[in-house]
Symmetry: C2
């Protein structure tokens, strides 16, 4: 592997007619700030606009020993889109066209660089919506989501991209820059000819090739969106509420998120007290108590508001009389405030100190115990006093975001306690050390 030289830049510009510039420093560090390019090399970013460009760039780089890092929105949390040495950055920013949409089937064909927001706006005009949704939806690209097999907020309802992606076009990093059409040009819902190779590329994180175009099956955009928040004093109650939600809300249940006490405290540092109260109904008393406290956000989407209101009302009443929990139906005008608290956890953790993030899958019943075990382990290992352990995430999917944040600057004690203990502990509990973020740099 050799660094990009000016002669390469000239080739991209003059022979291919593709823009190639020095990379902005923001492209050389990941969202967490922990995976950062340390080399002295000048980094370049190339901006292809067509699949042919990507193919030519791949061929050129292979023949000259230049490594490529494809970069979508650079919103990943595992450093997968950051060059670590002298790689060429291949940005998908200029390949952002939604190319076609079939309003009968909901199938959209798009270039890989289209953002989730952009695609969603496009298909909403025809009454559809994108089956996956992530916090940074304005920057997350479809191709990046495919490459990392992103999960997100709608996974519990619409499942994984292995089900939603109907076709891919990928460029291999081989000597010919081979372009593979893996069901893209037909974009059929069912095709049982040959092996399903496209699934291999979903979650392959750029190791097999560069995703250039995607066919995605979109889902109906329901007019009725309802939100209920539930607070619990015990994780068993959270599970009981989840069961009631699955039974009573059933086909309209679209998300079931949970935050523990410490996660909420982190979010609280980024939002107003009013916003916190909106979520927990004034029940939250800060992060210091040793009592358990959980807050759940239950979202429903359906075709008939009148019916959905009856369903969430019944759900709320069953929650209030059943487990030790209390439910609050959220006014439509307050939905954004609720989600703002949920999506502020990460920013709160980052503002507090150095964050160690673990995106793990676990048998659902063990989520609380995993967070508690991590906290005990840190206490026993003499982690500094300003160390906070918290858990939040997508409980319907068995996906826990376990986070540890240290108020001091980067602390080797914490790192040495957690690594590799967390991974071993997850394995012992038959979980996975990467649920939806991927492996990336790690």
């Amino acid at each position: 592997m050799r660094p990009v030289e000016f002669v390469d830049v000239e080739f991209f510009r003059k022979q291919l007619g593709v823009e190639c510039t020095r990379a902005d420093p923001s492209r050389l560090v990941d969202w967490t700030g922990q995976v950062k390019n340390q080399s002295d090399t000048t980094h370049y970013v190339v901006y292809p606009t067509t699949t042919r460009h990507v193919s030519c760039i791949a061929r050129y780089c292979v023949s000259r020993g230049i490594a490529i890092v494809p970069q979508g929105g650079n919103t990943g949390l595992v450093g997968g889109s950051v060059p670590l040495a002298a790689e060429l950055l291949l940005s998908l920013d200029r390949m952002a066209s939604v190319e076609s949409f079939d309003d009968l089937t909901g199938v959209a064909v798009t270039q890989a660089g289209a953002t989730l927001s952009c695609l969603d706006r496009f298909v909403k005009a025809a009454g559809y919506t994108v089956p996956l949704d992530l916090g940074p939806r304005d920057r997350v690209t479809v191709g990046g989501a495919v490459a990392t097999n992103a999960g997100g907020l709608r996974f519990g309802r619409y499942g994984s991209l292995h089900g939603s992606i109907l076709g891919l076009e990928v460029v291999l990093a081989d000597e010919r820059g081979t372009v593979l059409d893996l069901g893209l040009s037909t974009a059929l819902m069912k095709d049982n000819t040959g092996y399903h190779l496209r699934n291999l590329f979903i979650g392959s994180e750029g190791t097999l090739g560069i995703v250039t175009r995607c066919a995605l099956r979109c889902v109906i955009d329901y007019p009725s969106v309802q939100l209920v928040t539930v607070t619990c004093r015990d994780f068993e109650d959270v599970l009981a509420v989840l069961k009631i939600a699955k039974r009573e809300l059933g086909e309209i249940l679209s998300a079931f998120e949970f935050l523990d006490r410490e996660s909420l405290a982190m979010a609280a540092s980024q939002v107003t007290q009013d916003e916190v109260d909106g979520l927990v109904g004034g029940e939250f008393v800060g992060g210091d108590s040793s009592d358990e406290f959980y807050c759940c956000i239950v979202e429903c989407r359906g075709s008939c508001e009148e019916h959905d209101l009856v369903k969430i009302d019944r759900f709320s009443r069953l929650v209030d009389v059943g487990p030790n929990a209390s439910a609050r139906i959220v006014d439509h005008g307050d939905h954004d405030r609720i989600w703002k608290v949920r999506t502020s956890v990460s920013a709160g953790l980052k503002a507090f100190g150095t964050v160690f993030k673990f995106d793990i899958s676990l048998p659902t019943r063990e989520m609380h115990e995993m967070v508690a075990a991590t906290r005990r382990r840190l206490e026993q290992g003499d982690a500094p006093p300003g160390t906070v352990t918290c858990g939040f995430g997508h409980i319907m999917d068995g996906n826990l975001h376990l986070n540890v944040t240290v108020a001091d600057r980067f602390d080797d004690t914490v790192k040495s306690i957690l690594d590799p203990w967390v991974f071993k502990e997850v394995k012992r509990r038959k979980g996975s050390i990467s649920a939806e973020h991927g492996i990336g740099w790690y």
Copy 2:
């Protein structure tokens, strides 16, 4: 490849302790009757009960040059589970245990030979149901469905097995009889470590290995099941009704099947006139008219009958006033009769004569035209007078079952007209020559 000899049978019986018998003739022919073993060899079938057995059998057979055909329910329509020469049949009949079920996540772990019915009964006790359903559900095995990437009646709502299968255990036909655990032992909803190799096995039809155990994500079994039948005089109207169904029924829509006039005539030969009338409200006037005629079966499943009845009532009224179509809500007591007509098409075709079956995917709008083009092609090619062309299938999935049946005994004229014309025509229309049946013998 060499035939199975008595010494092999003795090995299976005495060394492995596995039953091995002469194969019943029913195991040597596929459901269509067209793929039939013609060899003079004595065929044997071996009945492993554990994964270790399968591994030992695979290792033994590889070392001795014996080919294996795994056989589940032998309900496939492409001859994939029938030995064509002297292969050993490996039956999954005795590997039919449902091993575990998590009532929080709906994840079931089962041996590959469990039938859909058996698994469905198991999970129904906990309020769940299997996300795929096929006509011969009492015989279709979970492993067979995985190996062929079966689609079926619930595909439109719950998507493909690529989304529902969370883990597989497979035995490779290599010298060690290697057992691969592809997410089976953890059965997590999200796991982004490594490549998603299990998807390669979904639809690989036994060419990569033998599926021995599966982890499947089941879905809520809703108490309310509603059925509406719709008759149309034009395919454009069918599409208009589909659009109304997607918008109005949305989250409760669970199936949208269609039959054309000739399909209905075939089914009619197998059921009573009353049963036909139940489906089409007396509108159907036989198969001779040259006018178009379509019958749709729209099924809904939801958590609240009261709400669902309102939704199907509104849907029916919109159908009646909108496209040139008429809708009838079906009494609960008549549901089975409706489905009986739908599932009798195949038997009707078979009773009529020699059937040429095509399971194709197409852009939805071209389904009618594909059937009409096939009919014209046969007429122009001087197919015998008793030749009937019909189309039915899963319109939500773009999946057309194009069938031609010839009253005479096997007719080479028809075969030579259709083959390879149909395949070329499907390709020209950007479809797939195998939607959900697989490739099998063909």
